[in-house]
Symmetry: C2
Subunit: 141 residues, 2 copies
């Protein structure tokens, strides 16, 4: 399902403006599974908005993260931050060789989330489950 509506509506609900730039960024986020960086979003949305600024991309991403409708995966050191529009509990597998990040649905995450919710005193806002390794393709080389 396309949750770009969901992203856009959450902006609306927060009393923020639905600018065409924000809509384009939301659409792109909802349509991709490549866990893009801010720069990747900029490069791919800019054709529709020749005046689009990288600052706007960062602003919008920050806003969406604050609203809790997208997650950040965390870079490793100098690598750029990656964003994930799928906030349901799921594991990401990150290949340390080709840098690709894929999703891995797991049975165990709901139980884990329930455990943390009930046994910690934290008010949870987001989560990040990441394994590093070599993907099948990169093991072959």
């Amino acid at each position: 399902m396309d949750n770009s509506l969901h992203l856009a509506q959450s902006l609306r609900k927060a009393g923020l403006r639905l600018t065409p730039q924000r809509l384009a960024i939301c659409s792109f986020l909802a349509s991709t599974d490549q866990h893009p960086t801010a720069q990747m979003i900029y490069d791919q949305v800019r054709p529709q908005f020749p005046t689009l600024s990288l600052a706007t991309v960062y602003n919008t991403l920050e806003t969406l993260v604050q609203l809790g409708v997208i997650n950040t995966l965390g870079g490793t050191g100098s690598e750029a931050e990656r964003y994930d529009a799928d906030t349901s509990p799921h594991v990401n597998l990150s290949c340390v060789s080709c840098q690709r990040v894929i999703d891995f649905p797991s049975q165990h995450l709901h139980a884990l989330e329930d455990e943390v919710t009930s046994r910690s005193e934290y008010r949870l806002l987001g989560s990040r489950f990441l394994f590093f390794g070599l993907c099948p393709d990169c093991q072959a080389t």
Copy 2:
């Protein structure tokens, strides 16, 4: 148990030199549970080594990560990378307000790791389990 020996030995085993700087960094990593940044390590180890360079801290951390004996947690955007000498499967709880990161032991992680090991074709090298939220102290304010 103090695993600074473990860290140092892994350097030795890889054929690398046991410099006093590296030993000090390993000791500090093993002794703290604060998930320090490179800068935090630098600040706290430097009194013992007035000439210590931040570059050495980064070099040593990179080496230890490559050896798989410490993990990175991933910063969020501009925040600095955090390092964790505890590579056993465990959840970290990160407070978005006070920036503190604590450990949270969980029953479910072994099962999750087994699942990913058996059902993905990845050769796993490390993992990262993080929840973001407000810690009890920061909820109060």
